[in-house]
């Protein structure tokens, strides 16, 4: 019995998997047809019963989010799909949309019906030209086939390069035609979201998971996963492994199991550190190989499941270099709205550069932690919080390596050894 459970990815190996013909061939759009014949509240209840939780990082129960939308308020409601996949390490929604955009549209129809919305927006990042083509063509084909346009419309909105727009309220500002900066909450999007109307913002994988739930039932979905983390999900394995890629498995699988399936750490090397769910989730080490990769398991071990972006780094990687680069990313992507994040990430970069170059001091480590303490929980949105994760966790596990940069007068690692082509050059 395979430990893997391809549902979203079940037909990705068919050459035309992205077409409406392929999706329909495998029973596509039957789920939305079934849902449209149901009472909207029954659809919400079914998604609640399934236990589906948000796959964009936070893990909030999807059905409950839908249930927050006020009913009978005589206002327009909106569904907004967050396809602005930008969290470093995260690479699941992009291949999903390239291989099967129709499952998302099917899910959009179901979600719109459930929350009494007539319109959905798909906000996709702008740096993926071919994925944009595929989604746009899929929407057009869904209109031609009559799945859209009969009471439910889907509009594609294309971003232009801003990580912050993955934050749901920044995404809404961006979609309204402003600079993408997060909003103060409350009010939450369920009350005043897009154009100040009740809005559900869901991740691509969350919405794409809904058709299978409607088709197979909540009990079927519940039968996968762990006590509080139900269903299957896409784990994205990358970095120093023999075979990187997407693996769809029940929640709760461990990294050890995934590595065993996928052929392990790159040959001749050992696991040093990894992220369970993107760069904003505190790093793990080889001590966490058996941590169940579900919302509770990862949280209990001091990190977050996040987007299930398993970025693997072996012993050739300098953790200070890795953390510096992530920190430079957060500084670059900070929207500038709040002081802790805008100023804090700038200072974090300065100090980390000194440490990586060997020109810092041991006191800098305490200064870093102090800065993180003043950013975490004091920023406007989760970007600031996320910026502190790699720093605090790496100092916790690899303090000695930071010190070694000081005693060595610089980085003790050879960056060539960690490249993908290092092996090819040597052999």
């Amino acid at each position: 019995m395979s430990k893997l459970t391809p549902v979203l990815s079940a037909h990705w190996d068919e050459k035309d998997s992205f077409t409406i013909e392929a999706y329909t061939r495998h029973g596509g759009y039957a789920a939305s047809k079934k849902a449209l014949a149901m009472d909207p509240d029954a659809v919400i209840q079914m998604v609640k019963d399934s236990g589906l939780r948000g796959r964009g990082g936070a893990g909030f129960p999807t059905g409950m989010k839908w249930g927050f939308i006020p009913q009978g308020d005589n206002k327009e409601h909106y569904l907004v799909v967050n396809a602005d996949e930008s969290e470093p390490g995260t690479c699941k929604d992009t291949p999903l949309l390239m291989a099967n955009p129709h499952v998302l549209i099917d899910g959009c129809i179901i979600a719109c019906h459930a929350i009494r919305a007539k319109r959905a927006f798909i906000y996709i990042r702008g740096e993926v030209t071919h994925v944009v083509r595929r989604v746009n063509a899929a929407i057009a084909d869904a209109y031609k086939a009559g799945h859209l346009g009969n009471g439910i419309d889907v509009t594609l909105h294309i971003g232009a390069g801003a990580y912050i727009c993955g934050e749901e309220t920044a995404l809404l500002d961006s979609l309204e035609g402003f600079r993408g900066q997060p909003r103060l909450r409350p009010p939450f999007p369920a009350i005043a979201g897009l154009y100040a109307r009740p809005t559900v913002v869901n991740n691509v994988e969350s919405i794409a998971s809904v058709p299978a739930i409607i088709a197979n039932g909540a009990e079927w979905y519940q039968s996968f996963g762990t006590e509080k983390s139900k269903g299957m999900t896409l784990y994205s394995l990358s970095g120093h492994v023999n075979n990187p890629g997407q693996l769809e498995a029940p929640l709760g699988i461990t990294l050890r199991e995934i590595l065993d399936l996928a052929g392990g750490i790159r040959t001749g090397h050992t696991l040093k550190f990894w992220t369970p769910g993107g760069s904003s989730t505190p790093i793990f080490t080889d001590a966490h190989l058996d941590t169940p990769l579900d919302y509770e398991g990862v949280s209990a071990a001091g990190s977050m499941l996040g987007t299930k972006a398993l970025q693997i780094f072996d012993e050739t990687t300098c953790v200070v270099r890795a953390v510096l680069r992530w920190t430079e990313f957060y500084k670059h992507e900070s929207c500038g709205k709040c002081t802790p994040c805008r100023e804090g990430t700038w200072w974090l970069v300065q100090i980390l550069r000194d440490l990586e170059n060997g020109t810092g001091s041991e006191a800098d480590l305490d200064k870093l932690l102090d800065l993180c303490d003043n950013i975490m929980g004091r920023s406007f949105c989760a970007l600031g919080d996320g910026a502190t994760s790699p720093i605090t966790s790496s100092i916790k596990y690899f303090r000695d390596e930071y010190i070694a940069h000081l005693t060595n007068g610089g980085c003790p690692f050879d960056p060539v050894k960690s490249t993908l082509f290092a092996g090819a050059l040597n052999s």
Partner: protein, 208 residues
């Protein structure tokens, strides 16, 4: 280029996608890049006129997002991912080699206007690291050598097809039109998935 080539009917059709016109700023800016290769002052003025908002408000949006360029980029705009994972796996080496090879710095353009270079953040293809993008199309699993031959071929006018994309690399303006939401008819070209995308499915079929 002047606004003469900005097609007002196309711009109005973009605005018509949205319940509120201001939402069209982003696709309109992509459209200006599709016509002019970058966000021109004329383009900003035209958007401000059609949306009936100040030019400063359009500029504020144009300068917030990194994909909007305020000066011309190359016909082939090359992005090298240097976020942590790609950087470690070879992105840093590729970016350094391309700067040296092309004789330009970050955000630079070659004198012939053919190729521009930018280091980019995570492009959601980490299982294909190191990743290089050309006009925001995927070039997966790059090496220093493959990236150099990509830019050389682009300068010579015959770039290789993207790894996961259409059967030819479109130029920067053509790609910008796609990002403005305009159909170029190429959606059915190219693979549905690369090997890493199919890893779990393959293993499952093998009973693992």
């Amino acid at each position: 280029m002047s606004t003469a080539v900005l097609n007002e009917d196309v711009m109005r059709s973009i605005i018509a996608r949205y319940p509120r016109s201001r939402s069209a700023i982003m696709p309109l800016l992509h459209y200006v890049q599709a016509i002019s290769g970058y966000v021109t002052n004329e383009g900003i003025e035209k958007i401000s006129e059609l949306l009936e908002i100040e030019t400063a408000e359009v500029s504020a949006v144009a300068t917030f997002y990194t994909q909007y360029k305020r000066k011309p980029v190359g016909e082939y705009h090359i992005g090298v991912c240097t976020n942590t994972l790609c950087a470690v796996m070879g992105g840093d080496a590729i970016f350094a080699a391309l700067k040296d090879h092309l004789g330009i710095e970050n955000d630079g353009v070659t004198a012939d206007g053919k190729v521009s270079l930018e280091h980019i953040e995570c492009n959601a293809a980490c299982d294909y690291a190191p990743v290089v993008m050309a006009n925001w199309e995927f070039y997966d699993n790059q090496t220093v050598e493959s990236a150099k031959s990509l830019v050389d071929a682009a300068r010579a006018g015959n770039p290789p097809a993207p790894t996961r994309g259409p059967s030819r690399l479109v130029n920067y303006k053509e790609a910008s039109a796609v990002l403005a939401g305009l159909d170029d008819g190429l959606a059915r070209e190219g693979v549905q998935a690369g090997e890493p995308t199919l890893l779990g499915l393959k293993l499952s079929k093998e009973g693992k």
